[in-house]
């Protein structure tokens, strides 16, 4: 297969233009998820008040539990889509996938943000997390 080469600075073929989707924001699924998020917030407060063991049933035998899969493993896996799509479109010049870029980058931003914030709930001493770049 031959690839259609691109001229520097030329618009990528098939480049899409973003437009608002429109419609209501507070739909039923959205409200259900909001309720779940509220419950989660309460549990996060409980975790910081009573310690990790009370909120998670983790122990010295199981020092990592369900949370690590959700905060780091799922969060970063979700977020890597941004890189994958960016490489596909901008490095390998598959312009026809350009409409995927915006949702992929949004998902990445949300994924890394969620991973970074929620791992702060999972680790025991998050007030030292700012030192990670110093000592890593």
């Amino acid at each position: 297969m031959t690839v259609q080469p691109l001229k520097a600075g030329a618009p990528i073929p098939g480049r899409s233009h973003a437009a608002p989707v429109g419609g209501r924001l507070l739909t039923l699924p959205y409200k259900i998820l909001l309720a779940l998020a509220a419950l989660g917030t309460v549990l996060i407060v409980w975790r910081f008040a009573a310690g990790l063991g009370a909120a998670t049933a983790m122990s010295d035998g199981y020092p990592w539990g369900l949370w690590i899969t959700f905060d780091v493993v799922i969060g970063t896996a979700l977020a890597c889509g941004g890189y994958a799509i960016a490489i596909l479109v901008y490095v390998f010049n598959r312009g026809r996938y350009h409409p995927l870029v915006r949702p992929a980058v949004l998902t990445s931003a949300l994924g890394y943000t969620i991973a970074g914030l929620s791992v702060a709930v999972d680790v025991g001493r998050p007030w030292h997390m700012w030192k990670v770049p110093l000592f890593f």
């Binding site: 297969m1 080469p5 520097a8 310690g51 063991g53 009370a54 010295d60 998050p126 030292h128 000592f135």
Partner: protein, 298 residues
């Protein structure tokens, strides 16, 4: 110009370039660590221990650890079942199958202070490190409480304060505060049978081999910790198989050996990832330049 062929050759060059960057570093297998010259440790001898647990009490006193009344006696006794967030040192009993008492054994458990500790290898913050006397200590100002050390330790030593708002990692630090005062650890000081003795690692190894040579009938013929998992500063002599006492690993290779060879090989100085990123950029720009050249050609 046929772009397809060129892309292939470029990708090949890219792969070759990154491989060349990675291979030399990865090929230099990580150097085996040796015990520091000031390494001290303990030598525990199962044939001498009578299970009095004086060391457990002394350890709690010396380190200001609270009583653990969760175990036996319905809340009456400080009787830890194992190492936990209240207990840095414990005596456990291995009960043999036979009627002969010689098949049973006590075992003292505390941090082994490995020559090449898995916990320190896993600790991304360097909170757990070998410090003075080769003792593995925990730095509260660095720890983020990720519990990677618990996952890594082949002896299940580091414990975590699960019910605290500001949890700490709890483990034996060989009474570092006492060592700095020129004293020996509390456990070895109080032992009425010298079942556990304190000293330089080299001296302890010599003593262990002296005992093995003197009573070859009495012991399993090895000093656990001389070579196991890269060597430990706490050494064991036993009359029952070491597996029975909970020492699950008998191999010489330290836990961090393979993992750090691979990871440091790939990520050392970020050279290989940067080379890869640069290669991707070069690949992309060259294709664009070719595209332009093709367009300008008649």
């Amino acid at each position: 110009m046929n772009i397809d062929i060129d892309r292939r050759s470029l990708l090949k060059g890219l792969a070759a370039a990154s491989t060349l960057t990675v291979l030399p570093t990865a090929a230099e297998a990580r150097e085996r660590r040796t015990a520091p010259p000031d390494a001290v440790g303990l030598l525990y001898d199962t044939t001498r221990c009578i299970g009095c647990k004086a060391c457990v009490v002394a350890c709690k006193e010396a380190n200001g650890m609270p009583a653990d009344t969760d175990g036996y006696g319905g809340g009456l006794y400080d009787a830890p079942e194992g190492l936990n967030e209240y207990t840095r040192n414990v005596i456990q009993l291995y009960q043999g199958q036979g009627e002969d008492n010689r098949e049973s054994s006590f075992v003292k458990r505390q941090c082994m202070h490995c020559v090449d500790p898995a916990c320190a290898g896993a600790c991304m913050m360097g909170a757990l490190q070998k410090r003075e006397f080769g003792v593995v200590t925990w730095d509260p100002d660095r720890c983020i409480g990720c519990r990677y050390c618990q996952m890594a330790c082949p002896f299940s030593v580091p414990k975590f304060e699960w019910s605290k708002k500001a949890p700490k990692i709890v483990k034996c630090e060989l009474c570092m505060h006492r060592l700095k005062q020129g004293k020996q650890p509390a456990c070895s000081e109080v032992c009425p049978r010298q079942a556990v003795i304190f000293g330089r690692r080299t001296d302890l190894l010599e003593e262990a081999h002296r005992r093995l040579a003197e009573h070859p009938d009495r012991y399993v013929p090895k000093v656990y910790g001389e070579r196991e998992l890269g060597g430990t500063q706490c050494l064991y002599l036993s009359h029952v198989p070491f597996e029975s006492l909970g020492f699950r690993f008998q191999q010489d290779e330290p836990v961090p050996q393979l993992q750090q060879t691979v990871q440091h090989g790939i990520y050392q100085g970020l050279v290989a990832p940067l080379a890869l990123a640069l290669g991707v950029v070069v690949f992309r720009n060259r294709r664009q330049a070719e595209a332009e050249a093709e367009e300008e050609a008649p």
